[in-house]
């Protein structure tokens, strides 16, 4: 006869409530690990999907995801000329937040180097890649826009022609893909009045500049668009992405480009590592600490619950001892209930988590490894938590059954 099961059946409602409570607690512990995995997965997925073999970034920076990186767009041509490089394209990335239909839209805009890159590599859920080099965009479905939606960014209106799935930046914002030219137009968009003021300021500064005084014809050019002033315009792309030709040696190409004084080269793996260490590391440690605390709290709560469950049975335990039950039976009674509660709580955490986590704003990824680890932790907690109850039960004298 299984005494533990009999007691559970007798106090079913109470056990169920307790298991639900423990389950909720474990679900949060489970979710913490999932959020952390989600952070890493989102970050590395993006780098993988972009698919570059080498990332050329501003000297001594850690790439466009980790910090500001600015390189001249001519860098793409330099890189393309290196032996072993199949293609080199511009990479532009910036995050914007705009109002649309009264909703706040936050997205990370990535520029595709038209016409080489129309976004064919994107995991499209619906729609199509870009077909023209202006005013079309592909966005992640997490942004909540429909195909055909019209979105005003800067001075132009962009149409959503494609939807991706799971493309979010390392900060969790949905990605939006436009051509590099559009991306810059969006990034450097200024109000008309600001442009007029800037131009007149430019003319004023030019009027007093020695070069212009010597060559008055130049001043004409200063009144044009900033993009037409290559010599004075800021470098305007974030990085250059290099694909290696089949059969070529990545390390060799990286070495050549790495020799250039103005840039730093990262391999894909390095880019991923930098992302995980740099951007996600604090969040990861934060979540780790929180998870450890929650685990301790769960252990304490379970210990209290199991202790009170034992106290409620103290009379029965004394009686069992009185009719000659060995300690093994009493130990089994408490331990089995602890493990049962732990297992049930874990199952509840898993089932409810499966329903709840998909509604979280960021991805929650439950890996088998994390699930197994938590299962082991739950078993350990259950055993540890029942020690207090077991200690109390072992001290009960059989004649306590005759008192009260």
């Amino acid at each position: 006869m299984n005494l533990a099961a009999k007691d559970v059946r007798h106090n079913l409602g109470r056990f169920a409530l307790t298991a639900i409570g423990i389950g909720m607690l474990l679900m949060i512990v489970m979710g913490m690990a999932g959020i952390y995995r989600g952070l890493i997965e989102d970050a590395t997925l993006l780098v993988d999907r972009i698919g570059a073999d080498l990332w050329i970034v501003q000297r001594d920076t850690r790439g466009p995801f980790a910090e500001q990186s600015r390189v001249p767009d001519s860098l793409a041509y330099r890189a393309a000329a290196v032996p072993g490089v199949a293609s080199a394209r511009e990479f532009v990335l910036h995050t914007i937040q705009r109002q649309h239909d009264g909703q706040r839209l936050r997205m990370t805009v990535m520029g595709l180097s038209w016409p080489a890159d129309k976004g064919e590599w994107l995991p499209l859920l619906a729609g199509r890649p870009l077909r023209q080099n202006h005013f079309e965009m592909i966005v992640d479905q997490s942004l909540g826009l429909q195909l055909g939606a019209q979105l005003r960014l800067g001075k132009e209106i962009y149409e959503v022609v494609g939807l991706t799935n799971g493309m979010v930046s390392s900060s969790g914002d949905a990605m939006a893909f436009v051509t590099a030219a559009d991306s810059q137009a969006i990034q450097f968009d200024k109000a008309g009045e600001a442009i007029r003021l800037e131009r007149s300021g430019r003319e004023r500064r030019a009027a007093s500049h020695e070069t212009i005084l010597r060559q008055p014809g130049l001043s004409e050019q200063f009144s044009g668009s900033m993009a037409n002033l290559p010599a004075v315009a800021p470098p305007d792309i974030s990085a250059v992405l290099v694909r290696i030709a089949p059969g070529a040696d990545v390390q060799r190409v990286a070495q050549i480009i790495g020799g250039w004084e103005d840039v730093t080269v990262h391999t894909r793996q390095q880019q991923k590592d930098l992302l995980v260490q740099g951007m996600v590391d604090k969040a990861r440690r934060q979540l780790g600490m929180f998870r450890a605390l929650l685990t301790i709290i769960a252990a304490i709560i379970m210990a209290l619950i199991l202790y009170t469950l034992t106290l409620d049975k103290i009379h029965a335990i004394a009686l069992l001892k009185l009719i000659g039950a060995p300690n093994r039976v009493i130990l089994g009674l408490i331990l089995q209930q602890a493990l049962f509660l732990g297992a049930l709580g874990y199952a509840i955490a898993y089932v409810v988590g499966q329903k709840v986590f998909p509604h979280f704003p960021r991805r929650v990824v439950l890996t088998d490894g994390d699930l197994v680890q938590l299962a082991v932790i739950v078993v350990l907690i259950s055993v540890m938590a029942s020690l207090l109850g077991i200690w109390r039960a072992m001290r009960v004298q059989p004649n306590e059954a005759l008192m009260g």
């Binding site: 006869m1 005494l3 009999k6 007691d7 059946r9 007798h10 106090n11 049975k313 009379h315 029965a316 009686l319 069992l320 001892k321 009185l322 009719i323 000659g324 039950a325 060995p326 039976v329 059989p398 004649n399 059954a401 005759l402």
Partner: protein
């Protein structure tokens, strides 16, 4: 008469508390119950009957004195001379003053558990438990939990549990207090039968003077001391 006694106590003394609150609940009680002998223990409230019974039953260690069960010394003063719990489940059946049943088990399971603890197969335990309960007329309450049974029904379940393992010593503390006279007598006769069939020694604390004729020997306890009453001097 070289067969060992069911139980023999030598100068059992129990002192509760110490100093000002010291109570001598039992003083130098020496008593022998043969196998097959059914003994009644009478006495006023507070005389020390329960104290004696729990000491003899290896639940409440005496302050001094010895207990021999089946010829084997099991208590030497307050010290155990064997694994008491194993000894209890194998050899002793108890019925307590207040029915002591496990609340989360049914009546039937309360009887079964004692047998399973003693190594009986679940099947054999079920059958024997049901048979005992039938004899005690509570088989129709087999599936009830103790909380749903009357005091007398609980007490009969406790009797069934006490007899389940064919003990060589049965100790019962007012087992019939909650029973009507017919059922009370039935329980006493059941004890008698156990004594005769299995050669068990039985000690019953009772106030029920109507069934004293069932007993072979009658003792009276007063202020912690036990005296034997001649069979024909049993108070009526």
């Amino acid at each position: 008469m070289n067969e060992p006694a069911a139980i023999e106590t030598r100068e059992l003394t129990k002192i509760y508390g110490s100093g000002n609150t010291e109570v001598v609940a039992m003083h130098n009680v020496s008593l022998t119950v043969r196998r097959g002998e059914v003994v009644a223990l009478l006495g006023p409230s507070g005389a020390g009957k329960s104290t004696f019974l729990t000491a003899a039953g290896l639940i409440n260690p005496p302050s001094s004195g010895q207990v021999f069960i089946g010829g084997q010394q099991v208590m030497d003063g307050p010290a155990a001379a064997t694994d008491l719990r194993a000894f209890r489940r194998r050899h002793i059946g108890f019925v307590f003053q207040k029915a002591n049943l496990i609340p989360f088990l049914s009546a039937h399971e309360n009887v079964i558990v004692a047998m399973e603890l003693n190594g009986a197969s679940p099947r054999a335990a079920r059958a024997r438990a049901l048979e005992l309960m039938r004899e005690l007329e509570i088989d129709n309450r087999a599936r009830y939990r103790p909380a749903m049974l009357s005091g007398g029904q609980q007490q009969r379940v406790a009797v069934a549990r006490a007899l389940a393992n064919h003990p060589s010593l049965v100790l019962a503390d007012e087992p019939t207090a909650a029973l009507d006279s017919r059922r009370g007598r039935q329980v006493m006769e059941l004890f008698r039968g156990v004594a005769q069939e299995h050669g068990a020694g039985v000690i019953v604390v009772t106030h029920d003077h109507r069934s004293l004729d069932v007993f072979d020997t009658i003792y009276e306890m007063e202020d912690g001391a036990v005296t034997r009453l001649p069979a024909d001097h049993a108070p009526r």
